[in-house]
């Protein structure tokens, strides 16, 4: 988690976000990863670095089959 990510709060609940094991799905595959969630409402935050980094790599790997 980068330092920038720590500064995000859930605006709805006014809660600091926490890392939570979250289920991900793509092209029939399922996997889990720790990402920031609001501890109260459960809203998930995917930072840009994750979306355009590891998630994009994983998308590419699964699509390459």
């Amino acid at each position: 988690m980068s330092t920038g990510e720590k500064n995000w709060k859930c605006a709805k609940c006014d809660k600091q976000l926490v890392l939570k094991n979250t289920d991900f799905f793509y092209l029939g595959h399922k996997f889990t990863y720790d990402v920031l969630n609001c501890p109260q409402c459960g809203k998930v935050l995917i930072p840009k670095e994750l979306a355009e980094g590891r998630m994009a790599e994983l998308e590419e790997a699964l699509e390459d089959k």
């Binding site: 500064n7 995000w8 793509y26 409402c41 840009k48 699509e63």
Partner: protein, 760 residues
């Protein structure tokens, strides 16, 4: 998809098959491989290729009448065929190790009798002895060799010493019993043997079995008696080749009790006719040996290097996609079939990226001597994947264009006859992108058509996005809608401005009469009004392939404008847009687009707005043919996704008012009134990611109205997500004023996550 359904697409592909010379060779020697090795001075491997095919290279290299040379494709260039006998002789001469291979196989108990020690009988005996059968050769004369075609003994040939040495060499690694001076008068003498091969030579004794001889299986009416060689009316070389084949059939007989081709290789000789075009191959004269003793090593290498190594790879050589994936057509077909046999979550699909990386442009088929269409194979794979449904369908590759199509077939749709009439003779079908790129392309064209013809308007998507996504039901649904509108308009001839639309109609609604806008414009003398360039190249879109009326019309219009036209070396190459590969393989898309932009340094005249979009984005100087006709040239600026949508709405609004007298009221959304501040750099980023400002407004409105958003107090930033069925969008923004937001960052992903949002 069944394997045979997939391989049917590539069954005519002869990539990897023996060359025409090898089909003509009685031994089916892999001449391509032999010459490639000789050309590199790899004498021993070359010798092995030769020896394994012809059995007695020392004899064959002298006596073969070289039928291969008649089928040497170098002769198509006016050159003499490769000097095969001289090259075989050189190979034998320069190969340092010609010792036959010894096979460490346990001896077998079955006994084989060979009648006749001519080269046919010897070849059969040698092959079976190598497999460790107990072989006895019966010969009435006092030595091996048999006869020459002229009936003389082989031993009378001036090169017999070499032949004798060759036979001795080949038999040096096997145990064979030779009984010379032993004439077999009746096969009953050989009753103890498990199999008999009769090779008594031309005019020799067939023991009354010749009439029952089977030319394919070398069998006779006696189950264990086989026959071959010049006795059966073939040439000496064919006789050797026959004996090799016969030995394999006899081996199957000895193993199973039944003669079969299970160990043999079967060739279809008709394939001799499959010649290549050899465009660009240079004429090279035959190398003449400097000495009567034959080629020096260097001369042989040079002569062998004249071989064109004929193997068809035209499609691969000219397609970026096929080069990138480095798979031969047959392999792709097998993978397409395998891909559809995958079930359950434990196994992965066999072929996803490649299926969706094909421009479906037809170029492979156009360069293939056998019209093999790999695009059609991959299109069928896309359809099969879509029909199979399930989570493994890569919906993200086509989602953007399917949403565009959804707009064009619903809100963007308009079918109107002119001047309040019920029917019309013509209807303009501009396609969804022409007006989106520039409303005047449609409006001016329609104005022209209305002034000359009884012409209505049909605004819709042709269905190409659904076709390219493999979505048959969506495609058919749209075709039905178009057909209904066309019927209601009195079945007019449709006027097309887009080659892709025209090709889709050609495939799926062939009953609708079609004409190209550019062909109609070209009928008007002197209609082209501006000349943006002195010289230019016409960039024909891939879907205009074989549409000669279209190609000719555009050239006439450009020439009339006073432009000196040049032709591209390869016409109808896809600009990159075809097949909607951009999201499936962005790097390949960029590579193809760049190659096409660089295909000529002259400006392009285009007549497909998708080509125009691709080239203008790269700064490649280009003009649409309608820019010339209607003086619409506006530089190379490409409208944004939102401008395109607004342009389409404007076209519909104007035409609906004109023909129906109705004010079109586009669909409105609660988020339309939001104001976004988007920097040029951010706009470019959004265009690359195919994210529109309308998407961002919707996401922000959802977040602001529901309160579900994230806040970064130190930077004064908000962030929210918008989860759509296929793509999840994220936007970071600042609130500048009420309902006014500065966009800071935008991104999206295809992976879904599980989010259980609770009311706080």
């Amino acid at each position: 998809m069944k394997l045979e359904d997939a391989t049917r697409y590539t069954e005519k592909c002869f990539n990897g098959e023996p060359a025409s010379c090898s089909y003509a060779c009685p031994f089916h020697l892999d001449i391509r491989s032999f010459l490639e090795k000789v050309s590199r001075g790899r004498w021993v491997p070359a010798y092995k290729v030769l020896r394994n095919a012809v059995i007695f290279p020392g004899i064959v290299s002298v006596l073969c009448d070289e039928p291969c040379r008649e089928h040497c494709q170098r002769t198509l260039l006016g050159d003499e065929a490769l000097a095969m006998l001289d090259l075989e002789a050189a190979c034998i001469k320069y190969a340092k190790n010609t010792k036959p291979e010894f096979f460490a196989i346990p001896p077998k108990s079955e006994r084989v009798a060979v009648i006749g020690a001519g080269v046919s009988g010897l070849a059969c005996a040698l092959n079976l002895a190598q497999k460790k059968y107990s072989v006895t050769v019966f010969e009435k004369e006092s030595g091996w060799g048999g006869k020459l075609p002229n009936g003389e003994r082989l031993s009378s040939h001036p090169r017999f010493a070499d032949f004798d040495q060759d036979i001795a060499l080949q038999f040096s690694a096997v145990d064979v019993e030779f009984r010379y001076g032993t004439e077999i008068k009746s096969l009953t003498e050989l009753a103890d043997f498990d199999a008999i091969y009769i090779a008594t030579g031309k005019g020799g004794d067939s023991f009354g079995l010749l009439a029952s001889w089977d030319a394919e299986m070398f069998t006779t009416s006696e189950p264990k008696v086989f026959m071959g060689g010049t006795l059966c009316g073939v040439s000496k070389m064919e006789g050797i080749a026959h004996s090799v084949q016969a030995s394999k059939i006899m081996e199957a007989f000895l193993q199973t009790g039944k003669a079969s081709l299970v160990n043999a290789q079967v060739y279809d000789k008709k394939n001799c006719e499959r010649y290549l075009k050899h465009d660009g191959a240079v004429s090279v004269p035959r190398v003449i040996a400097s000495s009567p003793d034959g080629y020096t090593e260097e001369e042989a290498k040079k002569e062998a290097a004249r071989c064109l190594l004929c193997d068809c790879d035209y499609c691969i050589a000219s397609c970026e996609m096929l080069q990138k994936f480095r798979k031969k057509p047959h392999k792709i077909a097998v993978e397409v079939a395998t891909d559809m046999q995958v079930t359950g979550n434990l196994a992965s699909r066999a072929l996803t990226r490649q299926t969706y990386s094909c421009n479906l442009c037809g170029h492979c088929k156009s360069v293939c001597p056998e019209d093999v269409d790999i695009g059609a194979l991959l299109q069928s794979s896309r359809t099969a994947r879509k029909n199979a449904g399930g989570e493994s369908y890569p919906a993200a590759f086509h989602d953007f264009w399917l949403r565009e199509m959804d707009f064009a077939v619903s809100e963007g749709f308009l079918a109107a006859t002119p001047n309040g009439k019920n029917e019309c003779e013509y209807a303009f079908f501009p396609g969804c992108q022409l007006g989106a790129f520039n409303p005047d392309y449609v409006l001016k064209s329609y104005e022209f058509l209305s002034s000359k013809y009884d012409c209505g308007i049909l605004l819709n998507c042709c269905g190409a996005p659904a076709y390219w996504a493999g979505d048959e039901s969506l495609l058919n649904e749209n075709m039905e809608k178009i057909k209904q509108a066309w019927n209601e308009m009195g079945q007019p001839t449709l006027v097309f401005a887009c080659a892709t639309c025209e090709s889709i109609f050609n495939m799926f609604l062939p009953e609708i009469k079609r004409v190209s806008l550019y062909a109609l414009l070209a009928e008007e003398e002197g209609i082209s009004s501006i000349r943006p360039y002195d010289e230019a190249v016409v960039f024909d879109p891939c879907n205009a392939r074989n549409n000669h009326g279209l190609e000719t019309g555009v050239r006439k219009l450009a020439t009339e404008a006073g432009i000196s036209l040049h032709e591209l070396k390869e016409p109808n190459r896809c600009c990159g847009y075809g097949g909607h590969i951009r999201l499936a393989n962005s790097s390949l898309y960029e590579e193809i687009a760049q190659h096409r932009a660089e295909a000529s340094d002259k400006p392009y005249i285009v007549y497909c707005v998708n080509c125009q979009d691709v080239f203008a984005r790269r700064g490649k100087e280009c003009s649409h043919i309608l820019d010339l006709v209607f003086d619409l040239k506006k530089g190379l600026k490409v409208p944004t996704l939102d401008q395109k949508r607004a342009n389409s709405v404007e076209v519909k609004k104007i035409l609906m008012k004109k023909e129906c007298g109705i004010d079109f009221e586009p669909e409105t959304h609660e988020w339309d009134g939001l104001k976004l501040l988007i920097s040029d750099e951010m706009q470019k980023d959004m265009e690359n990611k195919l994210i529109s400002a309308a998407d961002l407004k919707e996401a922000i409105w959802q977040a602001e109205s529901s309160g579900y958003k994230f806040y970064n107090e130190s930077e004064g930033l908000f962030m929210c997500s918008m989860i759509k069925p296929v793509i999840t969008y994220w936007v970071q923004y600042k609130e500048i004023a009420p309902q006014t937001y500065e966009i800071v960052s935008v991104y999206c992903h295809r992976i879904h996550f599980k989010e259980e949002v609770k009311q706080p």
